[in-house]
C-alpha cells in the first residue's frame, strides 16, 4: 500500500511537470503576431492564481479582437498578399488557364487592388469559390474581397452582411433565339408566346423569366438543366427554342458555339433584370473598402482622362490637369491619407490598366463591346462614372 502511495505521488509529480511544460509555451505560430509572456502564463496555469489567470484571459481576448475585428487593410498589408475570391470558371471574368494562372475581368481587378496596396499586381492569392461558399468565405476571413460576379442586391447588402463596392460591370438577363424562328435583335418578351425556354437551375434567372413572361401575358414552357453547357447543347440541337441567362454569358456562347447552319440573336435590347456586378467585402471595414472602391474609381477616371498603361509615365510627369496629377500621386496626399503609397494608382494603371483596357482585354474576345451598352462611360451615355479625385 505504501508502495502504491509513493507511486501515486510520483505520477502526480510527472503530471504536474507536464502541465507546467504545456502551459509554458507561448501562442502558436498562427497569424496573431503578438508574443505572450511565458513566465506569467506558467504561473497562472500552474498555481491557479485567480487574478493572474484573469489578466491572461483578457490579453488573449484582446489579441483575438485585434485580428478579427481589427483593421483589415493593416492585416492585408502585414500579410503581403491579397486573398481575392474569384470563380475560377467564369468565361472572360475569371478563367483558369492551362498553366493554372487566372485571367479575366475579375482577376484583373484583383490585380488592380493588389497593385494599389502593395505596388505589385502579382501579390494576389486567388481563392476559387463556388457560389454557395462565397459569402461564408468572406465572413470567416478566408478571402479579403470577392471579385466574383456577385450581383449587388438589397438582401446581400443588409441581411447577408456584405458590403458592395462600385459596380464594374452592368449585366442583365437577356434571351437568345434562332433567326429561323422569326426572332430578331428587337424582339420583345411578348413575342415568345408558346416557346420552350431553357435555363440553368437554381439561379434567379428562372424566376426572372417567369415573372417577365407573366407580366407580358405570354405562356412559355420553362425547362431547367443542371448547368448552362447542357442548356446550350439542347439549344443547338433544337430541344429549346430560347435560352436565357445573363447577357454577358449569352454573347460569349454566341461568339463561340453558334453552329455554321444557324444564326442566333440576343434580345430584348433592354435586359429583363438588373445584375450590377462589382467587388464585395465584409461589413464595417471602411479603410479597406475605401481602397477597393477608389482603385475601381481610379481605373474609371483614368479611362475618362485618357490615361492608360502605355502613356501613364508621360501623364504622371506632365499631367494634363490637376485631377490626373492628384490621381497619379503628383500633388496632394490623397493616397497617403488612405494609408497607401502616393503612387498607388500610378501602379494600378501601369501594371493593370484603366477600365477600358481591362474591359477590352478580357471581354472583347468573347464579343462584348462597351459601345451602346450600360458599360460605356457616362460621357458616352453609359453608367460607368466615378466621383472626382480631389
Amino acid at each position: 500500500m505504501t508502495k502504491n502511495k509513493s507511486l501515486l505521488w510520483r505520477a502526480l509529480a510527472v503530471l504536474f511537470c507536464i502541465s507546467l511544460i504545456a502551459a509554458s509555451c507561448g501562442d502558436d505560430d498562427d497569424d496573431s503576431g503578438t508574443t505572450q509572456q511565458p513566465a506569467t502564463t506558467t504561473a497562472a496555469a500552474a498555481t491557479d492564481d485567480e487574478p493572474a489567470a484573469d489578466t491572461t484571459t483578457t490579453a488573449a481576448a484582446d489579441v483575438i479582437e485585434n485580428t478579427q475585428d481589427g483593421d483589415l487593410l493593416a492585416t492585408v498589408m502585414e500579410r503581403g498578399k491579397l486573398h481575392c475570391g474569384v470563380s475560377g470558371a467564369a468565361v472572360a471574368f475569371s478563367e483558369t488557364q492551362p498553366d493554372g494562372t487566372q485571367t479575366g475581368f475579375d482577376a484583373d481587378y484583383c490585380r488592380a487592388v493588389a497593385a494599389a496596396i502593395f505596388g505589385d499586381a502579382d501579390a494576389v492569392e486567388y481563392v476559387p469559390l463556388t457560389a454557395a461558399e462565397r459569402f461564408t468565405a468572406v465572413q470567416t476571413g478566408a478571402v479579403d474581397v470577392l471579385m466574383r460576379n456577385t450581383t449587388w442586391t438589397q438582401g446581400r447588402d443588409t441581411e447577408v452582411g456584405m458590403d458592395f463596392g462600385p459596380t464594374t460591370y452592368y449585366d442583365g438577363q437577356q434571351l437568345m433565339a434562332r433567326v429561323s424562328d422569326d426572332f430578331s435583335n428587337s424582339s420583345q418578351i411578348s413575342d415568345i408566346d408558346g416557346a420552350v425556354v431553357c435555363t440553368n437551375a437554381g439561379t434567379t434567372t428562372e424566376q426572372n423569366i417567369a415573372d417577365a413572361a407573366e407580366e407580358a401575358g405570354v405562356s412559355i414552357t420553362l425547362n431547367t438543366f443542371e448547368d448552362f453547357d447542357i442548356v446550350t447543347t439542347n439549344f443547338v440541337q433544337g430541344a429549346c427554342d430560347i435560352v436565357t441567362t445573363d447577357g454577358s454569358a449569352l454573347v460569349g456562347r454566341k461568339a463561340n458555339q453558334e453552329p455554321d447552319d444557324q444564326e442566333w440573336v440576343i434580345f430584348p435590347p433592354t435586359p429583363i433584370s438588373k445584375e450590377p456586378l462589382g467587388p464585395t467585402y465584409g461589413q464595417n471595414q471602411s479603410r479597406f473598402a475605401d481602397v477597393v472602391n477608389w482603385t475601381v474609381y481610379a481605373t474609371v477616371i483614368a479611362d475618362e482622362k485618357g490615361v492608360n498603361s502605355s502613356n501613364v509615365d508621360a501623364m504622371a510627369a506632365n499631367p494634363p490637369d490637376a485631377e490626373v496629377g492628384r490621381l497619379l500621386g503628383g500633388e496632394g496626399e490623397l493616397q497617403s491619407a488612405m494609408g497607401l503609397a502616393p503612387d498607388a494608382f500610378w501602379q494600378v494603371i501601369k501594371q493593370v490598366g484603366n477600365y477600358d483596357e481591362i474591359y477590352s482585354r478580357n471581354l472583347n474576345p468573347v464579343g462584348l463591346t462597351r459601345e451602346g451598352s450600360a458599360n460605356a462611360g457616362w460621357l458616352d451615355g453609359g453608367l460607368i462614372y466615378a466621383p472626382p479625385a480631389r
Partner: protein
C-alpha cells in the same frame, strides 16, 4: 499440403531460377477448335442463336456510336491535350515540376520492388503464349472492325470547320475513308502479325507450356507507349506566356517524354532488384520494410516533396526539437510508471485522470482560455492515449521497453510531421491550393484509405466488444454516419468545420474533405470488417483462450487475420468506391479531376463549352485506376485463397 508448400519455398529460396519455376507448371489444356467452340457456346440452340445475333448487333451499335463520338471532327480534343497539366496538377508551378516527377518515380520504384518481391506468387498465374497470341490476333481484328464500323469522316474546310450542304454534314466516300485510315490498318496488321508470329514461333506444346507474367506484359506495353513518345508525332500542345501552342506534327514535348522514359527505366530496374532480392532470400524482412515505406510514402511525398516546407531552423532548434524530446522523455516516464506491475488498478485510474486533464486542456483551446501551442495540446492527448493502453504492456522489462521505444518513435514522427505541416511551403502557386486536378484526387483517396482503415477496424472491434460503452458508441457512430448522405457530410465539413476549430487554427478545404471521407469510409469499412469478424467460429476464441493468449494477442494474431482475409472482396469494393467518390470534391468547390473537365476547361475562352471531351477523358482516367485496383484485388484474393475454403 503445408509441408509441400514450405518445401517449395525453400527450394525457391535455394536459388531456383524463375524460369524453371514457371516451366514446372502444368501445360494449359488444349481448347476446342474455333468452329466447335462457336457452335457450342454461341449457337447451341435456336433461341440462343437469336440472342447472340441480337445482342451482338446491339454491342456493335454501341461501339460504333462511341467511335463516331470520339473521332468526330466536331470533337475538340485540343481542349484536353492543351489542358493536361491543369487536369493532373492544376496550378503547380512548372519550374517545380521535377517534384511531381520525383513523386511518380518514388511510387514507381516502390511498386517495382513490391512486384518483384511478390513475383513468386504471381508466376503461377501468368498468361500462356497460346492465349496471348490469340488475344493479340483478336485485338488486331477488333481494331480493324472499329476502322470499318466508324462512319466516314466529315469533310472540313481549310479552317478546320465541318462542311455542310442541304442534307447535312458532307462526308467522304467509304473507299476514301478506308484508305485514309491506313495508320489504323497498319496498327491492326502489326497486332495480328505479332500474334501470328508468337503462335507459329512456338510449337503447339511450347505455346501451351510457356507462361508470360502480367507484369512483363505491362512492361512491354508501357515500353511501346514510352517509345512512341519519341517516335510518333502525337503533337505538342501547351500554353506558355499567355499563348496557346498547337503543333500537331511534332512528337510530345521533352518535358513529358524524358521523365516517363526515366520512370520506365526505374520501374524496370526496381522489378529486377526486387526479384534478385527475393532470390537472395531477403524476402520477408524486406517486405516489411517496403510496406513501411508504402505507409510513409503519402506523408513524405506530400509534405516533404510536393510542399517543400520552409523550415525556420531557429525555431526548430529552440522549440520543436526540445518539445519533442521533452514529451518523449516525460511520456516515457509516465508509461514506465504505468507499466509497473505493482501499480495495478491505480495505474488505470491515473491514466483515466490524465485523459480527463488532456481532454479538458484540448477543449480549453476552443475557448482560447490560455494560449498554448496546438502541438503541445495534441502531444498531451497522445500521452494520455498511450497511458490508457499501457496496462496491456505491464510485466516483463523487454515488453515495457518495447512500448517505450514505440512511444519515442511516435513522438519523433508526430513532432516531425507537425513541424512540417505548420511550416510554410516554398512552392508558390497563383491560387490558394498547392495542387489540384488528378493529384488531389489521388491525395484525398490515399489519405482517406490510410486513416479510415485503422479507424474502421477499431470501430468494428468496438462494435463487437463486450463493453457496452464501446458497443453503444461505435454502433451509434456507424449508424449516424451511414444514415447521412456522403455529400451532406462533405458539405458539413467543408463549410462548418472551420467554425468548430479552436482559435487560430485553420484547416484547408482538402483536409476538411479528407476528414469527412475518412469518417464516412470508416463506418462502411467497419461494417465490412464486422461481417468478417462474425464469420469466425467460437472455437477460435476458445482455442486461443485455452493456450493462454491475452485479449489483445487473440485479436491481433487469431481473429483479425482471419476476419480481414474473409472481408477482402467487400473491402476492395469499398476502396474503389472511395476512390470514385472523390469526384464529389467538385461539388464542394475543390478543383479535382471532375471539376477541371466539367467547369474549368469549358469556361476558358479558347475552349468555351467544350465539355464532353474532358468528361470522356476523366471517365477513362477513373476507369483505368478502378480497373487496375479491381484486378489487383482479384490476384490478392487468389493468393490468400479467399472463397476456396
Amino acid at each position: 499440403m503445408a509441408d509441400t508448400r514450405a518445401a517449395a519455398e525453400t527450394a525457391e529460396r535455394g536459388g531456383a531460377e524463375d524460369a524453371q519455376a514457371v516451366e514446372a507448371l502444368p501445360p494449359e489444356q488444349p481448347g476446342l477448335p474455333p468452329s466447335e467452340w462457336i457452335r457450342k457456346n454461341l449457337f447451341s440452340s435456336p433461341f440462343n442463336s437469336v440472342l447472340t445475333v441480337a445482342f451482338g448487333l446491339l454491342a456493335l451499335l454501341i461501339v460504333r456510336g462511341l467511335l463516331n463520338f470520339t473521332f468526330s471532327e466536331e470533337r475538340n480534343w485540343d481542349a484536353v491535350r492543351t489542358n493536361l497539366r491543369l487536369i493532373f496538377t492544376h496550378a503547380y508551378p512548372e519550374e517545380q515540376y521535377s517534384r511531381i516527377w520525383v513523386c511518380v518515380g518514388t511510387i514507381a520504384v516502390l511498386a517495382g520492388l513490391s512486384v518483384g518481391l511478390a513475383a513468386a506468387e504471381t508466376a503461377r498465374r501468368g498468361v500462356s503464349v497460346r492465349k496471348l497470341s490469340s488475344s493479340l490476333v483478336a485485338m488486331g481484328a477488333t481494331v480493324a472492325l472499329g476502322v470499318v464500323l466508324r462512319e466516314p469522316s466529315a469533310l472540313t474546310d481549310i479552317e478546320g470547320r465541318v462542311r455542310r450542304d442541304d442534307s447535312g454534314i458532307m462526308r467522304e466516300s467509304f473507299a476514301e475513308a478506308m484508305t485514309d485510315r491506313w495508320a489504323w490498318w497498319l496498327a491492326a496488321a502489326v497486332l495480328a502479325s505479332a500474334g501470328a508470329a508468337l503462335w507459329f514461333g512456338f510449337g503447339d506444346e511450347r505455346r501451351r507450356e510457356t507462361y508470360v507474367r502480367p507484369v512483363e506484359l505491362f512492361m512491354v506495353g508501357s515500353a511501346v507507349l514510352v517509345l512512341s513518345g519519341w517516335i510518333y508525332p502525337w503533337g505538342h500542345y501547351a500554353f506558355a506566356d499567355g499563348e496557346f501552342i498547337a503543333e500537331p506534327g511534332r512528337t510530345v514535348a521533352m518535358s513529358t517524354k524524358l521523365p516517363w522514359t526515366v520512370i520506365w527505366l526505374l520501374l524496370a530496374a526496381a522489378i529486377a532488384a526486387g526479384r534478385s532480392m527475393r532470390r537472395a532470400g531477403a524476402g520477408p524482412n524486406f517486405t516489411l520494410a517496403l510496406n513501411l515505406c508504402w505507409l510513409a510514402c503519402p506523408f513524405v511525398l506530400y509534405w516533404v516533396v510536393l510542399r517543400d516546407p520552409d523550415l525556420d531552423w531557429g525555431r526548430v532548434l529552440s522549440v520543436d526539437i526540445p518539445l519533442g524530446v521533452l514529451f518523449a522523455a516525460l511520456g516515457g516516464a509516465v508509461l514506465w510508471l504505468l507499466t509497473d506491475q505493482r501499480i495495478g488498478e491505480l495505474g488505470r485510474i491515473i491514466a483515466t485522470l490524465l485523459m480527463g486533464v488532456a481532454v479538458l486542456n484540448w477543449v480549453a483551446g476552443f475557448f482560447g482560455w490560455y494560449p498554448m501551442l496546438q502541438k503541445v495540446r495534441l502531444s498531451f492527448l497522445l500521452v494520455a492515449l498511450a497511458a490508457l493502453v499501457a496496462h496491456n504492456f505491464a510485466g516483463e522489462r523487454s515488453k515495457r521497453l518495447r512500448l517505450l521505444a514505440v512511444w519515442v518513435a511516435l513522438m519523433a514522427v508526430f513532432h516531425y510531421m507537425a513541424t512540417l505541416m505548420n511550416s510554410p511551403s516554398t512552392v508558390e502557386t497563383p491560387t490558394e491550393a498547392l495542387i489540384g486536378g488528378f493529384s488531389v484526387t489521388l491525395i484525398v483517396a490515399s489519405f482517406t484509405l490510410l486513416f479510415s482503415f485503422p479507424l474502421g477496424v477499431m470501430l468494428a472491434l468496438a462494435r463487437t466488444s463486450r463493453l457496452p460503452i464501446f458497443r453503444v458508441m461505435s454502433t451509434s457512430f456507424i449508424e449516424v454516419v451511414r444514415g447521412v448522405p456522403l455529400i451532406t457530410i462533405l458539405l458539413f465539413f467543408a463549410v462548418m468545420l472551420q467554425l468548430f476549430l479552436p482559435d487560430g487554427m485553420s484547416i484547408s478545404l482538402i483536409a476538411a474533405a479528407t476528414l469527412g471521407y475518412t469518417l464516412f469510409s470508416a463506418a462502411y469499412l467497419a461494417e465490412n470488417v464486422r461481417g468478417g469478424l462474425q464469420s469466425i467460429r467460437r472455437g477460435q476464441y476458445e482455442a486461443s483462450d485455452a493456450v493462454g493468449l491475452t485479449a489483445m494477442q487473440r485479436t491481433l494474431f487469431i481473429v483479425l487475420p482471419q476476419a480481414l482475409r474473409v472481408s477482402i472482396p467487400p473491402l476492395v469494393g469499398q476502396v474503389i468506391a472511395t476512390f470514385k467518390e472523390t469526384s464529389l470534391l467538385a461539388v464542394i468547390g475543390a478543383f479535382d479531376l471532375l471539376r477541371m473537365a466539367n467547369n474549368v476547361i469549358p469556361s476558358q475562352t479558347q475552349f468555351l463549352g467544350v465539355k464532353r471531351e474532358g468528361l470522356l477523358f476523366v471517365c477513362l482516367v477513373y476507369w483505368v485506376f478502378a480497373y487496375a485496383m479491381s484486378k489487383h484485388s482479384q490476384r490478392l484474393e487468389k493468393r490468400l485463397g479467399v472463397g476456396e475454403r
